[in-house]
């Protein structure tokens, strides 16, 4: 580890390594610090990504981190009725995240970034009241490392943005409790589709998913919000025990994790500092997908950082362009998606069943995409739901 870099990135997840790759490719001196002994493991993910999002991250869909190609999605309402979503351009994939994260790290390193594992950033360095570097615990030894910009890509367990003074803290409303099994030898109706199951009974204020990784292998998981004293694991186990075709399978991996579902930051920057990925809550609040968001925000962040280093001005005034571009391109819609989620959470299972025949797959895509006018249309057309419009304010 040298004593000085253009950029220090805290966290070797997708947000960190993708930003590292893009900045190093333009000749910046980049350091990535990952506290775990291995990048990519343990996984905390159902591993789904869209084709276009993968392209944006610089891949083709032919790499060996692809476990399964996906050509569609089915959402099941509480009474079991399926709603098929329209096919997305190029479809999507279920990844092998452990391999995918490694590829991102290989490519960041190939572009010239330096990566260290077992390197935890435990505090920031300051100079003249401004952030100037990171305090690192590397294999148990303490080191001070300086840089022009620090990027906090420290994921869902993020603390570094708060040390920098940003109000990034989660509350029970902004994060879901997730639990998942990777299961083998299960029956999957259509293993090239992702299957999601709605209902407050089975997954309070969340959903259950089956993301196939092969014809008889899948990530079977759940995300729930709020607590009635029962855990995500309790709800998932209960649901699986009611599905003989899944119950008969074997569990080959257990995962859990927090999934950000809102609480977006007005500003994700300060002098010489910015935050990205789960640390900045950049996740779709309805479906919980973070990889697509990272593919957008890494591109935006890299562009702003490269310009700032070139200009020799890494002040908040320059980095603020990252906020502006992100809010324009992603934030404004994600904020609307968060509002839509808060309305949908109030819909009873019986009312979803009743309304189901009157909405289509495209409507579900529109809701996850933050199209509030579509929600208003659905609510108005279903007398039992019309009163919920007030929650959209």
């Amino acid at each position: 580890m040298d004593e000085e870099y253009d950029i220090i990135i805290v966290g070797g997840g997708p947000a960190g390594t993708l930003t590292a790759k893009m900045c190093a490719a333009k000749g910046l001196k980049v350091l990535v610090l990952e506290k775990k002994p291995e990048i990519g493991a343990p996984k905390r993910c159902a591993e789904g990504i869209g084709h276009l999002d993968l392209l944006r991250a610089g891949y083709t869909g032919k790499e060996r981190f692809i476990a399964q190609t996906i050509d569609g999605a089915i959402v099941y309402v509480p009474n079991g009725a399926p709603i098929e979503l329209p096919k997305q351009p190029g479809g999507g994939y279920i990844l092998e995240r452990k391999v995918f994260d490694k590829f991102l790290a290989y490519d960041a390193a190939k572009a010239g970034a330096k990566i260290y594992t077992k390197a935890e950033v435990f505090d920031l360095l300051w100079s003249g009241g401004k952030i100037a570097g990171a305090k690192v615990l590397y294999n148990g030894e303490q080191k001070d490392i300086y840089s022009k910009i620090i990027i906090a890509a420290d994921g869902v367990e993020s603390k570094i943005p708060r040390i920098a003074g940003l109000p990034s803290r989660n509350t029970p409303r902004t994060i879901e409790s997730g639990y998942q099994y990777e299961m083998a030898n299960i029956d999957i109706k259509d293993p090239h589709k992702i299957h999601t199951y709605l209902g407050n009974e089975i997954a309070p204020r969340g959903y259950i998913w089956i993301f196939p990784k092969g014809s008889h292998i899948a990530n079977v998981g759940i995300g729930i919000n709020g607590s009635d004293g029962k855990t995500a694991k309790y709800y998932l186990d209960k649901w699986i025990s009611s599905k003989p075709g899944i119950k008969k399978g074997s569990i080959i991996e257990e995962n859990s994790g927090g999934i950000p579902i809102g609480g977006f930051l007005e500003s994700m920057t300060t002098d010489n500092f910015l935050t990205i990925g789960d640390a900045a809550h950049q996740v779709n609040p309805i479906h919980g997908g973070g990889l697509a968001e990272t593919s957008f925000s890494a591109e935006i962040a890299a562009k702003v950082i490269i310009d700032a280093i070139k200009l020799k001005d890494t002040s908040n005034k320059t980095l603020d362009r990252y906020n502006k571009l992100w809010w324009e391109k992603r934030g404004n819609n994600l904020k609307k998606t968060e509002k839509i989620l808060h309305v949908l959470e109030k819909v009873k299972d019986s009312d979803i069943n009743l309304a189901q025949s009157s909405f289509h797959g495209q409507d579900i895509l529109d809701l996850t995409g933050g199209k509030t006018h579509k929600l208003i249309k659905i609510l108005i057309n279903n007398p039992k739901l019309a009163t919920l419009i007030k929650y959209l304010k």
């Binding site: 869902v156 994060i175 309790y234």
Partner: protein
């Protein structure tokens, strides 16, 4: 009362770290460490933990 992590149940996902209002929890070397000086015993993490690995117990 002190917050205890049941290592037999914990999957080291750091979900509890993400929700702690006091930054009292840290995932270090795949183990959840509790800073008792910061923990306010609010139990938010206990309700959040996907596998029920956390509990408040008397310090005996």
């Amino acid at each position: 009362m002190v917050l205890k992590v049941d290592k037999n149940k914990c999957l080291s996902c750091a979900g509890c770290v993400s929700i702690c209002p006091n930054d009292a929890l840290t995932l270090r070397n795949m183990i959840i460490e509790v800073d008792e000086n910061k923990c306010s015993e609010c139990a938010i993490c206990i309700h959040f933990c996907p596998v029920g690995a956390l509990r408040l117990t008397t310090n005996l």
